[in-house]
């Protein structure tokens, strides 16, 4: 067996051209007990690890990198067990087609729900450990000594007794031929040397030089560009369009209808395609939703607040009886609007179709979901389809379950066989065709006895279910309930409620609308944390008690929730005087199996100009794989969550979304950025928590609670711009 690298030239060119390397593995699968090879001929030790003769370690990462640092974190976990030289680690994406062909050896590709690390840490570490054991065994075989006498560190294998040494690159070929070990033991996290450390990201350099290729930067030989508009009223269709004017415009190659709902222009450049699309006259059949407005939707939700029927998410004792017998009742109604993800890179996908092969290049949070859309739209079998994942210019939940742009790109490409077509949405299209953070209203009622003890609480949610729209089978199986709508206040599981309250009822009157909902960073914890954590402050106020002391009474059985809450309280200086003119608020929740809390310190000028001087965020995620990246995710989640709190709302008029760009849908700038102090306090255990999303939900209620302390005004609807309140 030769160790000379064999370069598959076509695959190599494609991979380097398309994604700056690392896109297409171009695996050659053997038909017998032979070595599986990467595109450059280097041997695969197992599905997770390829080792080149120069000791470079290529770690396969199935999850998608969209800024959250997951490729670095997952590579750290593999490298930790592999005992390799971190300076020589690089990563690559396996393709969905290869995953299908190899019986899903890389597991789940889906990158949402803060699951990149927490749901794959075990099998990727086992991949690293198994590869190390095979490399050590190969060296031991070569030296004819027991493997137990050899050790591995920093990509070097040593036989201590004889002083012999070799490197991973030298024994990789032999190791790749060995049977994988059956009994693989993982390290205790206290012995970690690479994982658990703030290693620099592996993907920074190309992002500062402009070399990083995003989906929208892809270039393929002979490629054309497409611009598209879909009926702006959800549920509407194309009635007619006059292609004549656009067809004669410069650079235009084709004007076509895409499915029932959209019209696209294909041209030499995207600017030509977009210019021609804007000149098109399209008549829409707007369908039954053309009169729906934000006000009409709000009325439907409002009715749900008092509806008889509701799905129960959390119940203990008899809340209704407790409320009926209360000495004092406190009631409040909150609401949360539609919001768009607004990834900086608008949705896009590139497709090339021939009757024998359909390929898609796409920035995606879930390559397998993209693959499914490709299969469906192309009509070709799986072995004739392939998806190449490209780095994402933001994801936030828009690019996972929803692959509408892939479907569109394939449909367009099918009309032009052999020609690659890159479909890019304009920002306006991106904002009109979102998969929006769902709307929700919430009525909370608390009961007190004559001694100001909380004796019961009813939290009634009324609004849209994401799962009913996106995963109807899951909802059907749960007898119509969407358990995800109770994130953060649910009775059990990764989003379980962090208090023990006597006579509790939390229920949801499902009120779905024609606006398509989606998973938006944090998903339903955003509104649930505002509703519940602000109401806890309202209850504390009504009872004449300190908000922290009031919460602690119900947290004896929730030590990890209490741990993060105490940590932020201590750091912000709770209970000690704040600097003059500054006011504090706090909030806590458990989400995606992490325990999070925030404490904010703000000042308010002129009654409406809010300056956030400090915001402390604590995270107990069980294990911290890269603390520096966790810090960045916490700060980033606060930017996303506070932008949403102060500035962001998608309103509905005539059945369509009104906001089409950043001039009507703003986002925080650096001048408004608070100083974020992150406390990472992992407490271990069997279950790992997520990081990308959990802290997003505690920023807004902490700030709202501080705003009440500053002004005496309780704000119960988002965004704050609707109350004339600005973030400065």
């Amino acid at each position: 067996m030769t160790t000379m690298p064999k370069i598959n030239r076509r695959t190599f060119l494609l991979s380097t051209a398309a994604a700056g390397g690392g896109l297409a593995l171009g695996l050659r699968l053997p038909f017998g007990p032979e070595v599986v090879r990467a595109a450059d001929g280097s041997p695969e030790i197992n599905a997770w690890v390829v080792i080149r003769p120069d000791d470079t370690v290529v770690v396969r990462v199935a999850r998608s990198e969209m800024g959250q640092g997951t490729i670095t974190g997952l590579a750290q976990l593999v490298a930790e067990e592999l005992e390799c030289n971190w300076a020589k680690v690089t990563t690559e994406y396996p393709t969905p087609g290869q995953n299908v062909a190899r019986k899903r050896v890389w597991g789940d590709f889906s990158t949402g729900g803060s699951r990149g690390i927490r749901m794959s840490h075990e099998y990727v570490r086992q991949g690293g450990a198994a590869a190390r054991m095979m490399l050590v065994q190969a060296a031991a075989n070569q030296w004819k000594v027991p493997a137990a006498e050899c050790s591995a560190a920093n990509s070097v294998i040593t036989h201590k007794a004889s002083g012999r040494k070799t490197t991973y690159g030298k024994v990789a070929e032999a190791a790749a031929k060995l049977e994988p070990p059956k009994d693989v033991k993982l390290k205790d996290s206290k012995d970690w040397k690479i994982a658990g450390k703030s290693m620099k990201r592996l993907d920074t350099l190309d992002k500062v030089t402009g070399k990083q290729v995003y989906g929208f930067d892809l270039k393929l030989p002979g490629m054309l560009n497409a611009a598209i508009i879909e009926c702006p009223v959800f549920g509407g269709k194309v009635k007619s369009f006059d292609a004549a004017k656009a067809s004669g415009m410069k650079g235009v190659k084709k004007v076509l209808q895409v499915g029932d709902t959209a019209v696209a222009v294909v041209a030499d450049t995207w600017w030509h395609a977009k210019t021609a699309l804007d000149a098109l006259t399209i008549v829409w059949d707007e369908g039954p939703n053309a009169k729906v407005s934000s006000a009409s939707i709000a009325e439907v939700l409002k009715a749900g607040l008092g509806a008889e029927q509701a799905f129960v998410g959390n119940q203990s004792g008899d809340a209704k009886a407790a409320l009926a017998g209360a000495a004092k009742k406190i009631e409040a109604v909150y609401s949360y609007p539609y919001q768009n993800h607004v990834c900086m890179e608008p949705m896009n996908a590139t497709a090339r179709f021939t009757p024998d092969k359909c390929e898609v290049w796409v920035p995606t949070q879930d390559g397998e979901s993209s693959f499914a859309a490709l299969l469906s739209a192309s009509g070709l079998p799986a072995d004739k389809c392939e998806v190449y994942k490209i780095n994402l210019g933001g994801g936030f939940g828009r690019r996972g379950a929803f692959q509408d742009y892939v479907t569109q790109a394939v449909r367009i490409a099918k009309e032009m066989p052999g020609t690659p077509v890159k479909l890019l949405w304009s920002r306006e299209e991106d904002m009109r065709q979102g998969r929006f953070h769902p709307v929700m209203q919430c009525k909370l009622t608390g009961a007190f006895d004559a001694s100001n003890n909380l004796t019961g609480l009813h939290m009634r949610l009324s609004g849209q279910s994401i799962l009913a729209a996106v995963r109807p089978a899951v909802v059907e199986k749960d007898k119509g309930r969407d358990a995800l709508s109770f994130q953060g206040v649910f009775e059990t599981g990764e989003h379980s409620f962090g208090y023990t309250i006597p006579n509790l009822l939390i229920d949801h009157a499902m009120r779905n609308t024609h606006v398509p909902p989606g998973f938006w960073r944090g998903v339903n914890i955003n509104q649930n944390a505002i509703f519940f954590e602000c109401f806890m402050d309202e209850l504390a106020q009504a009872a004449g008690q300190d908000p922290l002391e009031f919460r602690r009474k119900f947290m004896a059985g929730h030590p990890r929730n209490l741990g993060v809450l105490n940590a932020v309280a201590e750091r912000i200086g709770w209970g000690k005087p704040a600097p003059k003119g500054r006011f504090r608020g706090l909030a806590q929740m458990k989400a995606f199996n992490s325990y999070v809390a925030a404490a904010a310190e703000i000042s308010v000028a002129g009654g409406n100009k809010v300056k956030i001087h400090r915001i402390v965020g604590a995270t107990d995620c069980g294990y911290a794989v890269n603390p520096a990246q966790i810090d960045r995710q916490v700060a980033g989640s606060f930017v996303y969550g506070l932008s949403a709190l102060f500035m962001e709302e998608c309103t509905v008029k005539d059945g369509r979304i009104e906001q089409e760009n950043f001039n009507t849908y703003d986002s925080m700038r650096i001048a408004q950025m608070p100083r974020v102090e992150s406390i990472i306090m992992p407490t271990g255990g069997a279950i790992w928590g997520g990081v990308g999303e959990p802290t997003i939900c505690v920023a807004a209620p902490a700030v709202l609670n501080a705003f009440f302390q500053a002004t005496g005004k309780r704000i119960r609807s988002v965004p704050l711009k609707n109350h004339g309140i600005q973030l400065v």
């Binding site: 350099l205 500062v208 930067d217 607004v342 920002r427």
Partner: protein, 148 residues
């Protein structure tokens, strides 16, 4: 029409009203400059025109012709990164990275005009949108670059 980009002259065959952004990306083929909004709100397309930061989505090719245009690809001197790029690497600033070319170009122009900017200078000048929320690292890296 002639465009002078990164020290080289390029003949571009476009309508004079074409935004500079699309001429840079689709005619000259430099894709480091990004599209984010098309209406000069987000700053993802920031380039330098005669040394000053400008949003290329809202400037026509005819207005840019004859001027000295620098994109992210032209910021480094050969293989030596510009001090802003270097600070960005040292501080691990980018997350998804899509807005960062525009952010870096805006900061490089700021540092040319004000070599030691205060936080207030940064707040007033750097108005780029970053949805990942890298601002804390951006501020740290600006101060580090100013000291470099």
């Amino acid at each position: 029409m002639q465009l002078n980009v990164n020290g080289k002259s390029h003949e571009v065959d476009v309508e004079p009203t074409t935004p500079l952004l699309w001429a840079i990306r689709e005619q000259i083929g430099l894709t480091g400059t990004k599209y984010g909004c098309g209406i000069a709100q987000c700053g993802a397309c920031t380039v330098h025109i005669d040394g000053a930061a400008a949003r290329a989505c809202a400037i026509t090719v005819s207005a840019a012709a004859g001027k000295r245009i620098t994109t992210i690809e032209g910021l480094a001197s050969g293989k030596a990164l510009h001090k802003v790029q270097k600070a960005w690497v040292d501080h691990d600033v980018p997350q998804c990275g899509y807005c960062q070319a525009g952010m870096i170009m805006a900061v490089a122009a700021l540092l040319r005009a004000k070599p030691k900017p205060t936080d207030a200078d940064i707040d007033a000048t750097i108005t780029n949108i970053c949805r990942c929320g890298t601002f804390q690292q951006v501020r740290e890296a600006i101060h580090a670059a100013a000291k470099a």
